[in-house]
Amino acid sequence: MSSVDLLLPLLVAVPMLLSTVPIALGLRFDRTGWSVAALTTTALVAATTTLANVVYTDGVVTHKLGGWSPAYGIELVLDEFSALIAVLVAVTAAGVLAYTRVGGPRGNTFYSGYLLLTGGLLGISVTGDVFNLFVFLEIVGLATYAMIASGDGPESAVAALKYLILGTVGASMYLIGVGLIFMATGTLNMGVLAEVLPAAVERDPTLVRAGFAFVFVGFSMKVAQWPLHTWQPDAYQHAPDGVTPVIAALVSTAYAYAFGRLLYSVFGPEFLTSTPYLTELVVTVGCVSVVAGSALAVIQTDVKRMFAFSSVSQFGLIVAAYGLVTESAFIGATIHLVGHAVIKAGLFAAAGLIAINYDARTVDEYAGLADEHPIVAGTMALLLVSLIGIPPSAGFVGKWYIALGAVEAQLWPVAVVILFSTLLTLAYSARLLEKMYFTPATPLEAPHVSESVATDGGENEDDAETAAGADAANDGDAGARGGTDTAALEAITANRDRNTVSYGMLALVVATALLAISLGFAGGFLADLLDPSFITEVFN
């Protein structure tokens, strides 16, 4: 192991310290934020992959901060479970940065917030201390509120405040839970807690159960489980287009990871199954969120809002999987965490790209998108298909393990909900697919049959250049296309003049789509990462 564990504190400290740099440099230079952030996240990707490599070959890496004993000091731990999330965080943070260079809110303060967020998320992944976890939850929260509020309109400030109040209450709930557990055991270290909790449960079960209840409510709020999800749609919808991908992909994922960590590493499967009605409660909350989230997603008109409700539903699936307490379900939850993060990052990035460049934000405005912009529409379609869980894709692998877990636990109603969630996801995804591919852009064109035939021919050539040279620089082309119809296309042209698609944005969206598909073949690989050591340790 040598001194590789020294990387652990650096993982958290470096981005947080460097988050001050853009502001400091901002006093003299205008646009340094992106470069600082890019350098930092690249370094983080290297560090996390190195650490993950060590973890998966040699086993768990731990670091005691300041050399204090774990009983009262803070310990950082990277094991098989957290290494996956740490790599996900670093890679996604670096990837989305490519997107924000052109698309996102620019300015040095934004990148300060971005680095703070990254540091906080990595902190959540590596911490081995329940109170330290609270601090990182709040750091992530703070950075998120600030970044959401950096949107253009006043709406984003309202959404951020709503999130701030609910998020703080949620984190505080978690803090109460930590207090109660501390009362029962006298320690805050996760590893030590896991050892002493069984005795504490015997001594005073009510205290530990009350602690669990507060932790659960706190995380239900943070992960946005129905009915505590109300902050999420507003926050996702009004956040700037460059911010939503990283928030949607990572923040809730990190929270859900932390919840899973507490459930399995701190409370342990035995406590979960032996406490009456506990698993039933967790599973019910998850299942209700699956159904309610999807149902609400179907009726949304705003695309980003629809995806936000979709997140409620997908995290419901993960929480339900946690509640099943079987090995397969836990593997499924972990894989779905990663898979969903990739898919949602791609979906929100694509939605942002479309919003910025083609000014389409509602489902209706997506009509005919596939003809105009085949690459973006195709990528979006691929991501939606992965979200539905059509194999081979990331969404399918997670669902397979979760469904298997539900069957193994022989909880048939849960199995039914999990399997039917495919159909529920299909309901809103298909709506978007149909709009993009099978609904003509402007209904006014329909009556002129002969003219629209000519349109097809013309557009084909147009698409050709789009495909060949990316959508970026065909402003002139769009003008040529204007021959078909006027108002709508002129609006698009005007928009294109204002903003152009960067290759970075397009590349990120395409790369996530490909990653989402290739993860579909990694089902066995991901399960192997967790299986031999972590799973057996937890479940025995």
Binding site: W400, A415, L419, L426, N460
Partner: protein, 657 residues
């Protein structure tokens, strides 16, 4: 068992073609060239494995062994060309060759939009269909089953109008309910059941998965539920009632899609899946050992409810088909019925019935594809979709309608055409089992009669009637149960009983023709002239069939009142669908078989119709019967088919010896 990349190559051929088709979208000729080339290559690859497979070799490609990637923990991604898979893959890839020619002719003939998307999705469908055929375990078949649903969706919703979108929604909802929900549930259950008694597996084994049989013995209820989950999952695509209604709606798709996918590849993938479940997941023996106890009746075989459902479907769908005037919809209900032949044959469990069912997969495919191609070619040349508009069309399209007759005879199970052989074996199987299974034999025979009842009118009207003199079609035009005045007093059909006509209108809009007088007929004629149906067919000889106006004026005067039914009918359809079908005002012009349409469409029709006859006359020389026989003997572990004569229990004894 031999390691080979051939099964993967067969699947990837058309997947690669998708990329090439999309890449060459600016050059239609090259694009369609890729399509044809991929079809030929795919068939070549599949065909090259045929001799080996018939000798008992199984070509297998596994993701884990070749690339070291584990698809899911404990589950490999396997493509395996075995006997059963060969049957389906050979069929799909062979028919794709001709369909790709036909599709070219069809799409160009109609000057359709988004042809690139169409051909790309078509190639992707074939890729998935061959993947389904070669899938080596339930998870792999699930992957391709889902992909097939996905890539056929753009084909169903191709038109992009309201009707197509709604049909697309219905299609995708049904297929994902069947695949993503029910079939996945069944697959997970199989994995769980086998994990309880040993190593978890979902890999197919001829005669049933051994571990599953043990698992079923410990937990029979779960095994029974799993069986029905799997069957239901596949039955959605096989259009078994009550999950059939997507099929008729999916007929809004272009005809090559209806032909190859919704008569062969997609729907057969459902029937094929059922065959896999019955023969290679559960196995006839396990199914027999898991009787359901039904209150009031006693123990009933697990297969019997399925057989009853199939028998019901094939009767009910035939009856519904009688009343469909839209030719493609009638064919769709016929498909629903014919697919249930296959399901019924498989669920009777007797080796001969299974043999018949397996042979019915290609038999129906050839005959039904002929029928669809004919319907499509009629649509392209004359824009006629409704049977009531087809009186005398045999003059206009003699070759097409002759091929249609052959296909229809095959559907009805006339000797010397493919459908007869399969039905013969199924009846034999029902006979060997005896007992209540005579009921199923009766259903098969009754359905044959119904087949004649709904196909004969098409043939009759095409060849033996003419535009201005044809009979009423009581089943189509009258309300269910009939109208007394037509039966009782034929001569007074129009002139008399005027007072009853308003009632007639309110009953059934197709009966509206009864009150059409000279004025409305004149309107109708004018409508046809205003939009001459054939004028916009480029390159086709149809243009020459646009007729002189003077002709129509004469005809209006001379028309008999009896034709009022037909024309009123057409007017009603015009209102709804904006189609301008039916004979041109001067009647159909007579064409020779060589000039009635483009050879891009006629060629495939001739070849496929010939195929249907070949399968009926010399089934033993056309590979499919050999394959089906080999499958049955290997499932029942017998040396020859003769051993398996006799009741089902005796046939199963053979397998245990």
């Amino acid at each position: 068992m031999s390691e080979s990349i051939l099964p993967l190559a067969a699947v990837l051929t058309s997947a690669v073609a998708v990329v090439l088709i999309v890449a060459s979208y600016r050059r239609p000729n090259i694009r369609e060239g890729w399509s044809v080339l991929a079809a030929l290559t795919q068939f070549g690859i599949v065909f090259s494995m045929l001799p080996g497979v018939l000798d008992g070799t199984v070509y297998k490609w596994s993701l884990q062994q070749s690339l070291g990637v584990e698809f899911l923990a404990g589950i490999d991604f396997v493509l395996r060309a075995d006997l059963l898979g060969m049957l389906f893959a050979l069929l799909a890839s062979f028919l794709w060759i001709f369909t790709s020619f036909y599709a070219t002719g069809y799409m160009r003939g109609l000057d359709e939009h988004d042809q690139t998307r169409f051909f790309a999705a078509f190639a992707a469908s074939l890729s998935s269909a061959v993947g389904i055929a070669f899938a080596g375990n339930l998870v792999t078949i699930f992957v391709f089953y889902e992909l097939l649903s996905l890539v056929t969706y753009p084909l169903v919703a191709h038109d992009g109008d309201r009707e197509a979108r709604i049909a697309g929604r219905k299609y995708i909802a049904y297929t994902f309910f069947g695949g993503g929900v029910i079939l996945l549930a069944g697959t997970v259950m199989v994995y769980w059941l086998t994990s309880q008694t040993g190593t978890a597996t979902t890999a197919f084994e001829s005669g049933g998965i051994g571990a599953l049989a043990e698992g079923a013995a410990t937990d029979p209820t779960a095994a029974q539920i799993t069986f029905y989950l799997l069957i239901t999952g596949f039955a959605v695509k096989a259009a078994v009632m009550p999950l059939h209604s997507w099929l008729a709606d999916a007929m809004v798709a272009p005809t090559p899609v209806s032909g190859l996918l919704h008569a062969v590849a997609v729907v057969k993938s459902g029937a094929f899946g059922i065959a896999r479940v019955i023969l290679e997941v559960y196995g006839p023996e396990t199914i027999r050992d898991l009787p359901l106890s039904v209150p009031g009746i006693g123990e009933v075989g697990l297969n019997v409810p399925l057989a009853i459902l199939a028998a019901f479907t094939l009767t009910a769908a035939s009856i519904i088909a009688l009343r469909k005037d839209h030719l493609k919809r009638r064919l769709a209900y016929s498909t629903t019925a014919q697919l249930s032949y296959i399901v019924l044959g498989l669920s009777m469990l007797h080796p001969y019935a299974i043999l018949g069912a397996l042979f019915h997969i290609p038999a129906h495919a050839f005959a039904k594809l002929t029928l669809f191609f004919c319907a499509g070619s009629v649509h392209v040349e004359t824009h006629t979709d409704y049977i009531s508009d087809m009186a005398g069309i045999g003059k206009r399209m003699p070759l097409t309608m002759s091929a249609f007759t052959i296909g229809a005879a095959g559907m009805a199970g006339m000797p010397l055409i493919a459908g007869f052989v399969s039905k013969f074996y199924m009846l034999l199987g029902a006979g060997y089992v005896g007992g209540e299974y005579w009921l199923f034999a009766a259903a098969l025979l009754l359905s044959g009669v119904l087949n004649i009842a709904y196909f004969w009118p098409v043939v009759y009207t095409a060849f033996f009637e003419s535009e201005d003199r044809h009979d009423a079609k009581p089943l189509l035009e009258f309300p269910a149960g009939g109208i007394r005045q037509f039966v009782g007093d034929e001569l007074a059909t129009d002139g008399g009983n005027r007072d009853e006509e308003p009632e007639l209108n309110s009953d059934d809009d197709s009966g509206a023709g009864a009150d059409s007088d000279a004025d409305s007929e004149a309107d109708y004629e004018f409508a046809v002239d205003q939009y001459p149906s054939d004028a916009d067919v480029p390159g086709g000889p149809g243009g020459s069939s646009a007729e002189g106006d003077a002709d129509s004026g004469v005809k209006t005067g001379t028309e008999t009142a009896g034709t009022g039914h037909d024309h009123g009918h057409a007017v009603a359809h015009d209102d709804q669908h904006e189609h301008h079908g039916g004979p041109p005002a001067g009647g159909w012009t007579r064409h020779s078989p060589l000039t009635e349409s483009t050879w891009l469409m006629l060629g495939p029709i001739v070849v496929i119709a010939t195929g249907a006859v070949v399968l009926g006359v010399i089934p033993g020389h056309a590979a499919f019967l050999d394959l089906a026989t080999e499958i049955v003997t290997s499932v029942f572990d017998a040396n020859s088919l003769e051993q398996l004569r006799g009741p089902l229990s005796a046939a199963l004894e053979v397998s245990t010896q």
